[in-house]
């Protein structure tokens, strides 16, 4: 409870004092340097910085649409998992033999635990009064070396992921029929472009992938009815049934389009 003066008066039966405090900003002239009030001078500048950042952010958003791969399919064995980029350095560590298998605890608990533990306890590990980075070389060097490690691991993870993507796409292993050589100039029609699920395995321009054959000349082997049947019921247990999105009429149209590709 706040101390109450004997003769203080209050608003009604509340604890709000009747004597009002004037709403006047103090002068900062007695502060060292060129201090300025937060409101409104500095806040306006902060908003200008924020506006510039927002502009960059929006340019990024408009120029690069977020990726949406095919609907989650637990039976898809060819998909190479990858975490979001800011987890890559932790993920990459687990790929090295000294932090995998019997030693996996080193990679999942001990090293991250020590690193993040030290970071959270930094004020008690580095208790000196000196604040300048180059006057406390131990803390600075540990941080710099850690940063280099984090950047390296992130880079290495990305490099490895791209390599495995390339070998997965080019190898064609696991596909039912040997994939015909994909024609890089081939452009799929609008009917195909509307089918996210089909594109997920057969590719945006029907070029095929490790999981599914090339369809750029599928009309040479199958007629429209056979194609419609495969789309509806799947094939060989590899292509799942019911991936097509749309009406039966649209399915027939797509099948006819595919059959026309020779």
């Amino acid at each position: 409870m706040a101390k109450h003066e004997k003769d203080a008066t209050f608003v009604g039966d509340s604890r709000i004092r009747a004597k009002r405090i004037p709403n006047i900003a103090p002068s900062y002239s007695e502060y060292p340097g060129k201090s300025e009030p937060f409101w409104p001078n500095f806040l306006l500048k902060e908003w200008m910085v924020a506006a510039v950042c927002l502009l960059g952010f929006l340019v990024l958003t408009v120029s690069a649409a977020p990726e949406l791969t095919g609907k989650a399919n637990p039976n898809n064995t060819s998909f190479i998992p990858v975490p979001d980029w800011y987890f890559l350095f932790l993920y990459q560590m687990l790929k090295y033999p000294w932090a995998a298998g019997d030693w996996v605890v080193l990679g999942t608990v001990i090293i991250p635990g020590l690193a993040f533990g030290a970071l959270i306890l930094a004020p008690w590990l580095d208790r000196g009064k000196e604040r300048r980075a180059f006057r406390r070389p131990v803390a600075t060097w540990i941080m710099l070396v850690t940063l280099v490690g984090v950047f390296y691991l992130t880079w290495a993870a990305n490099e490895e992921h791209e390599k495995s993507l390339a070998s997965n796409g080019g190898g064609g292993g696991g596909a039912g029929a040997p994939a015909a050589a994909a024609d890089p100039n081939f452009k799929a029609g609008e009917l195909w472009a509307a089918q996210q699920n089909c594109q997920n395995c057969h590719g945006v321009n029907m070029e095929g992938s490790a999981a599914a054959p090339n369809l750029q000349k599928v009309g040479a082997e199958l007629n429209a009815d056979q194609i419609a049947d495969i789309i509806k019921n799947g094939k060989d247990g590899k292509m799942p049934p019911g991936m097509f999105q749309g009406s039966d009429e649209e399915l027939t149209k797509l099948a006819e389009y595919l059959a026309s590709l020779k």
């Binding site: 709403n23 502060y31 902060e46 609907k71 399919n73 637990p74 605890v105 959270i120 580095d126």
Partner: protein
């Protein structure tokens, strides 16, 4: 008119001290990029908050379309992205904002570290900041699953396998997050709840603490 409304509220609630607390503090020269351009490094904390606000707003709009179950989750995201007017912008802002907030927070952490601002008397604020960092990583991890596409599904599956290797608590943590023996319907529901209710609540509480402590202690002095 506005002055009268202010006075009316102020008489009853005594808001002037609160308002002066919030708005009325000096910004010293060494953090003001208008005086020293290199002081832009002091902007990263504010920008982290700015992007966090964008994340909260864009996330609120995403939930207008998103359906957190395994049948509809992917379709609802696909619909939002490809059919709804400006839907790709809303999803794009949340998607890219998630990365930017990590980048800004990383830069802010480095600024605080290399200027030694975590030292006495600001130890507690450093710890709260690190907790905010972990909550943000948790938001990133749980949000990654929600579109329910292959990328999301398999990343989460691997994440669960990694959690499983942690001695003693690992299998329990995995069961708690996964809600069963596989990444499935329960997992999506739990990740949605964690991403939309649990972690944002923790985040707002921590941010409140972070800002109150800054107000109480002031920004660290020049080097």
């Amino acid at each position: 008119m506005i002055q009268k409304m202010y006075d009316w509220v102020d008489e009853r609630l005594n808001i002037t001290p609160m308002w002066r607390d919030l708005a009325d503090h000096e910004v010293p020269e060494h953090v003001n990029p208008a005086h020293h351009f290199s002081a832009f490094v002091y902007c990263f904390g504010g920008l982290t908050f700015f992007i966090t606000v964008i994340q909260i707003l864009s996330g609120m709009f995403l939930t207008m379309y998103y359906v957190p179950d395994i049948i509809n989750a992917y379709e609802s995201v696909n619909y939002l992205q490809n059919q709804v007017a400006f839907g790709t912008i809303v999803r794009g802002m949340h998607h890219w904002g998630a990365s930017l907030v990590i980048v800004m927070m990383f830069l802010h952490t480095l600024r605080v570290f290399f200027t030694g601002s975590y030292k006495k008397p600001r130890e507690m604020n450093w710890v709260v900041g690190m907790l905010i960092f972990f909550v943000m990583l948790g938001l990133g991890f749980t949000g990654y699953l929600l579109p329910w596409d292959n990328k999301a599904y398999f990343a989460t599956k691997v994440g669960m396998q990694i959690a499983d290797t942690v001695p003693i608590i690992g299998p329990y943590a995995k069961t708690l997050l996964q809600g069963g023996s596989i990444v499935g319907a329960q997992t999506l529901a739990r990740f949605f709840a964690i991403h939309v209710f649990f972690l944002p609540a923790a985040l707002l509480a921590l941010l409140g603490g972070h800002f109150i402590m800054i107000r109480a202690q002031g920004i660290s002095g020049p080097l």
